[in-house]
Amino acid sequence: MSAVGDIVHMYREMRRIRAFEDRLMDLKAGGEVPGSMHLTNGQEAIAVGVASVLRPDDYVTATYRGHGWAISRGSDLTGLFAEVMARSGGVNGGRAGSPYFSDASINFLGENSIVGAGVPIAAGAALSAQRHGQGQVSVVAIGDGATNQGAVHEALNLAAALTLPMVLVVENNIYSEMVRIKDMTKIDQLAIRAEGYGIPGVTIDGNDPAVVAAAAADAVERARRGEGPTLIEAMTQRLVGHHSGDAQHYRPRGEVAEAALDEPLHRIRSAADATLLAELDAIDAEVTAEIEHAVAAARATELPDPNTAKDHVYA
């Protein structure tokens, strides 16, 4: 299904991500999720816009804020719920949890709890793609804070030098964990760093999935043509904290409320006519039912068998 520019399709995918994470917060409050989570509320348009231009055999690598990237690529919601709920039915059987899961069935190379570490790994998938010659592309998402990690600099330079088919998506949500990125770097637009690697860099509105899809399409086509990596900086805002328990005392009063008026789902709904609104309401109801079904199915799987804790250390 080609869904480039199909706003209804992209609304549905964004709603699925939002509903998945909202439901996870309920489950956490109910004691069904151990550990912390890093949610992507408000940033869904980026993963969904990029996913809309990818082929099933492309590779995706994300940060610990990666639920949306896996869902946008088609990862099974039951497996994702079960993973975050630490159950055997999880995509990794409960070994990875919310911040470090992978899904080989959809070429999702995984989230990463080490800031920036996924970019070298994505370069490796791009090397495979280059060598296999089937036009595959390796997409990697990082946050604005990760652009200050050495691994990112090294990997971008290497990917550029080897002309690897890689697309780096920087989700610039203004905060580098709990401090403003503008206080951590002297440049206004992170995309200008691309020039230092000799690759194209663009800054785009990350709250509009169609805009994201258009920029991603350019970058992906460039990579498929064998012209090397591109850096896309997608501007957005987090509607939630750095992690699920973050009270966000560091954010100015009113910032989140203002961001909520510009978040991608609200944007589409506020611009919709009555006919479209009815369609979107129907989608919301369908997604709610899908989410409840997935939660029930995840709950129905067992806790991981303690006898398997030492399995899979080696092949």
């Binding site: 590779y59 990794n92 070298p120 490796g124 090397l127 060598r131 296999h132």
Partner: protein, 328 residues
């Protein structure tokens, strides 16, 4: 087959192992700093770029983090990369990729992703090498679940163990010994590819067991000859692999001789010798007739000056002294 066994230097054996991997396995690719056109800083990849081209062997920027991560991503998606870290000391630049990424991949994904890759490096001191070109890194690697570690001490092992590493589905670090690169030995080029793991008794004896690897494996044999003149019959065990460690072989030898000396070039505190000593104490306590002795460098960074190095680098003489202490 004629010429199936050739006398080669250790570094030539490595070269043959790499050539074998490029010929036998389409998915192997070799990369690192100076490995392609220059042929490797120590000549390990000599002529391979000429014979196999850019698509199989290429140079990377001086970016250990980037290219070890690239090795992982490539291994997860169908290639069998062999990455060269020029000096083992440079591994520390990329420890996140090694410890947090490569080592975890198979476990955390519940086996749905693997990391069948090889990291070749060389370690140990040499004349004039400074404190950033002399580390023996085996304890750092062996401490990390998920990694395999080879420490070949002969030319034949350098060839056989490299091939075993390449066909293994686990991530393997092969830590060669730079000081042994010129040493020659018979290399069985047509031997069947071994599974990873397995140590070897390199000298049989009845009075004391010396466990030693890498450069110290040869030093232990030298020490054993000297001790034989005094009527001390030494058994030498070369574990070859520290992960997986062939502890059964060590335990059987200790049960036979009742005495254990462990020799390595790395400094003592937290060194891999401590692991072997602890296991021997746990599993062979009633067989031991003397305290276990360890030989290693003192806990001092390696100085560059040969006059200073001579004080801190373990030698065959140090092994002889240690054996004399435990057989007294």
């Amino acid at each position: 087959m004629p010429d199936a066994t050739q006398t080669l230097s250790y570094i030539q054996a490595v070269q043959h192992g790499l050539r074998w991997s490029l010929e036998a396995l389409d998915d192997t690719v070799i990369f690192g700093e100076d490995v392609a056109v220059p042929g490797g800083p120590f000549g390990a990849t000599k002529n391979l770029h000429r014979d196999f081209g850019d698509s199989r062997i290429f140079d990377t920027p001086i970016s250990e983090t980037a290219f070890l991560g690239m090795a992982l991503g490539a291994a997860m998606t169908g290639l069998r990369p062999i990455a060269e870290i020029m000096y083992a000391d440079f591994m520390f630049v990329a420890m996140d990729q090694l410890v947090n990424q490569i080592a975890n991949t198979h476990y955390v994904s519940r086996g749905t992703y693997g990391a069948p890759l090889v990291i070749r490096t060389q370690q140990g001191y040499s004349s004039g090498s400074c404190a950033q070109h002399s580390h023996s890194i085996e304890a750092y690697i062996a401490h990390t679940p998920g990694l395999r570690l080879a420490v070949p001490s002969t030319a034949d092992d350098a060839y056989q163990m490299l091939r075993a590493a390449i066909v293994s589905d686990d991530p393997v670090v092969v830590a060669e010994a730079r000081m042994l690169y010129p040493t020659k030995g018979d290399v069985r080029l047509d031997a069947p590819v071994e599974p990873i793991g397995g140590g070897r008794i390199t000298r049989e004896g009845a009075d004391v067991t010396i466990v030693a690897w890498s450069r110290m494996a040869a030093a232990a044999l030298e020490a054993a000859e000297e001790l034989a003149a005094d009527g001390i019959d030494v058994e030498v065990v070369d574990p070859r692999w520290l992960a997986p460690l062939d502890f059964d072989l060590i335990a059987a030898s200790v049960r036979k001789t009742g005495r254990l000396v462990i020799a390595h070039e790395a400094n003592l505190t937290g060194g891999f010798g401590a692991e072997i000593a602890a296991r021997a104490a746990e599993e062979c306590f009633s067989d031991l007739r003397a305290p276990i002795a360890r030989v290693g460098a003192p806990d001092v960074p390696t100085p560059a000056a040969p006059a200073l190095q001579a004080v801190v680098i373990p030698s065959a003489a140090d092994v002889v002294s240690a054996v004399r202490r435990v057989v007294r």
